[in-house]
């Protein structure tokens, strides 16, 4: 089955075509607007992308990756119907409806979160120049690893932090979610507090490699004396803010460039120490809550996906601390928002005949998986 996927739920505009037999998911085409600047061959064809410029960018993307104008060869159209930002979602939804209608092909409305879950089934592409060979394989180096059900899924990104029990394809139960900020948001905001350029998350991870993870004992919210699987990160963010205010040797909140921080006295934490300790705190919470979810549900595997699943330290800690349970991650290329994962999720719904009338599908900003 060949599935065309469209994703416009928030910041990203993405289109992809996936070919699958249900076991192997091969990416035939995939383009993600925010990555375009990195591909010289696209330069000039697609307008310079600002976040959420879906209207300007969507059809040029179709042209750029060569989607046949008559839909030839495509079996199913899959589009993110929610959750997300309504004006953004609508661009993709209306385009998908029009295409499905004009091409007379079946249409699937996909849940963005199910897209993230499905991202682990997609094979990474060795031809992708931005990523080193070996980091592209599905299962992070473990080719052929297929999540066994039931699986505990940790979905962790800038906008979401949720734990789900996946009993089987398309069958989910909510185990816990954040009560305030998402983990990715915590990274971004602490990055901002540290004066790091957007996106702060990856920069924190880089600095963390040179810091001491036990330098500052930031709080691990909702860990002590608490048995549920919900999360909370806003207290941790505030704790970092307070720490920085009280640390005169660290650069101030609205300081200059911190790319080369000054050396600090050995008894005072450096920027790297703050990054390392903060990252340790977030990862400790994510690991511990996942462990609790595992304890409650006895799954056969764990899936960790979403933008924050690209974090190497998180990958390492998850694997080590949940061992011997297999922990499966998407190829790095598919950790962020992308249409390939939407096409993959679309397949699972298409298999079940869950199609929607193109005249009827509506964007739903609050669409829930469980």
């Amino acid at each position: 089955m060949k599935i065309l996927g469209l994703e416009t739920s928030c910041d990203e505009t993405s289109i992809a075509v996936i070919e699958t037999d249900g076991k192997n998911f091969k990416v035939e085409k995939s383009i993600v607007a925010s990555q375009i600047a990195k591909h010289a061959e696209y330069g000039g064809v697609v307008p310079e992308v600002a976040a959420r410029c879906h209207v300007d960018v969507l059809f040029p993307l179709f042209e750029t990756i060569g989607i046949p104008r008559d839909g030839k060869g495509i079996d199913v159209v899959a589009v993110t119907a929610g959750p997300g930002l309504v004006p953004a979602l609508r661009i993709g939804v209306e385009a998908a409806k029009a295409l499905a209608f004009a091409w007379q092909k079946p249409l699937v409305g996909v849940n963005h979160m199910e897209g993230h879950v499905s991202s682990v089934f997609i094979e990474g592409r060795e031809s992708e120049p931005a990523f080193a060979r070996g980091e592209l394989r599905r299962g992070e180096g473990e080719v052929g690893i297929w999540p066994e059900f039931p699986a505990v899924c940790l979905l962790v990104s800038g906008g979401h932090t949720e734990l789900l029990l996946m009993k089987n394809f398309c069958e989910y139960e909510l185990l816990g979610r954040t009560r305030d900020d998402a983990a990715g948001e915590a990274f971004d905001k602490v990055g901002s507090l540290l004066g790091l350029q957007y996106p702060g998350g990856p920069k924190i991870s880089e600095h963390a490699l040179l810091g001491r993870r036990d330098a500052v004992n930031f709080p691990r919210p909702m860990i002590d004396g608490n048995h549920d699987c919900d999360f909370s990160f806003s207290g941790l963010k505030t704790a970092v803010a307070v720490y920085l205010k009280l640390s005169p040797t660290l650069p101030l909140l609205k300081g200059g460039s911190l790319e080369t921080p000054p050396l600090q006295h050995s008894t005072t934490s450096s920027l790297q120490d703050v990054c390392a300790s903060f990252e340790q705190a977030v990862v400790d919470v994510l690991v511990e809550k996942t462990r609790r979810a595992v304890g409650k549900t006895n799954p056969k595997s764990v899936i960790v996906s979403g933008g924050v699943s690209a974090n190497k330290f998180l990958r390492q800690e998850m694997k080590n601390k949940l061992s011997p349970l297999p922990v499966i991650f998407p190829a790095l290329e598919f950790t962020g928002d992308n249409a390939a994962m939407i096409a993959a999720a679309g397949f699972f719904r298409a298999e079940r005949g869950e199609f929607v009338d193109p005249l009827v599908l509506e964007a739903d900003p609050n669409l829930r998986l469980a």
Binding site: C10, S157, G158, D180, A182, E185, K189, A241, K245
Partner: protein, 139 residues
């Protein structure tokens, strides 16, 4: 008003919620960590919102159905990641601003004036170095 805890912030917000008539735009100002989203949680709960108000930093706009006498919808916006007034306007705000049974709450409202949206109420939250207490001023 002084708040020394999350609960106190929510209580102040709940009291404020009861003064709303519907149709207002509320600007919510304060630096990272002062409790803008906490305030919104207290306000939303007081208005009978379904579910918890969560940070809209990445989602940009969250819409919560409410169940108070005057207010049936709370639109919770976070302009933290927005860069131009158009970013705010493109959210389809004209569907919500001024609608009698809805209120629009905007965190990081720096865009509001330049987008020519008038804030009917302004909530300013400030704090000290240690971030132990919050001072909440409401206009």
């Amino acid at each position: 008003m002084i708040s020394k805890s999350l609960e106190e912030t929510k209580k102040i917000a709940a009291d404020f919620a009861l003064t709303l008539q519907g149709g207002e735009v509320v600007a919510l100002e304060g630096e990272l960590g002062v409790g803008k989203t906490t305030f919104t949680q207290g306000l939303a709960e007081a208005l009978g919102a379904e579910g918890l108000a969560r940070s809209p930093t990445f989602t940009v706009m969250n819409v919560y159905p409410a169940a108070s006498e005057k207010i049936k919808t709370i639109v919770h916006i976070d302009a933290y990641r927005l860069r131009t007034p158009n970013d705010l306007l493109n959210l389809g705000l004209d569907e919500w601003v001024g609608r009698p049974e809805a209120i629009v709450l905007i965190e990081w409202p720096h865009m509001v004036e330049s987008a020519e949206i008038k804030a009917d109420r302004v909530v300013k939250i400030t704090t000290d170095e240690q971030m132990n207490e919050r001072v909440i001023e409401i206009e």
